[in-house]
Amino acid sequence: EAGVAQSPRYKIIEKRQSVAFWCNPISGHATLYWYQQILGQGPKLLIQFQNNGVVDDSQLPKDRFSAERLKGVDSTLKIQPAKLEDSAVYLCASSLTSGINEQFFGPGTRLTVL
């Protein structure tokens, strides 16, 4: 069974530029999560999707971050414009449903904002 796929693995941009990350969850997983992991900290949830609907985006800085999961499968997270403090690893995870099903994590995208 293929795991959660993310791309790119690394991205370096200048502040005020835009960037997008892509995530393809495990086949059949209805719930998709985006976490932000700043160096030295644990991951923090940015947004949770159930199929193509948003369950929780309370921690998403909506003035610059956006995310979509149009067909209820893969998802894109965008930052526009980026700030220095957005430098982090962005982790995507998926689970069968939003119940106790295990969350499976992708390898992450390491973003550096200069």
């Binding site: 719930t31 689970s95 106790i100 994590f105 390898p107």
Partner: protein
């Protein structure tokens, strides 16, 4: 809001020895899940072990076991017979069990475990 605290930033253990990683949490809920995740340098987060709060028996997975003290809100991970492949960052995490609550994980800051050959 729930919080998870891992106060030890780093620990080291000799290969084949036993090490215990500490975690405390704060919540007003009576039923919830607690997890330990492992994140090797490649960054893929892997579930190590899970504990349901209403279960008094401590969870065990091969060389990994937990000491769950609900009243003290403590959830430590014991790794027995440590192996070089255990070297990684370990995160303690909490998940609410309330109906209608989202299933997000609340993580601690993590602890870096090194294993000496």
């Amino acid at each position: 809001a729930q919080t998870v605290t891992q106060s030890q930033p780093e620990m080291s253990v000799q290969e084949a020895e036993t090490v215990t990683l500490s975690c405390t949490y704060d919540t007003s809920e009576s039923d919830y899940y607690l997890f330990w995740y492992k994140q090797p340098p490649s960054r893929q987060m892997i579930l190590v072990i899970r504990q349901e709060a209403y279960k008094q028996q401590n969870a065990t997975e091969n060389r990994f076991s937990v000491n769950f003290q609900k009243a003290a809100k403590s959830f430590s991970l014991k790794i027995s017979d440590s192996q070089l492949g255990d070297a990684a960052m370990y995160f303690c995490a909490y998940r609410s069990k309330l109906t209608g609550a989202n299933s997000k994980l609340t993580f601690g800051k993590g602890i870096t475990l090194s294993v000496r050959p």
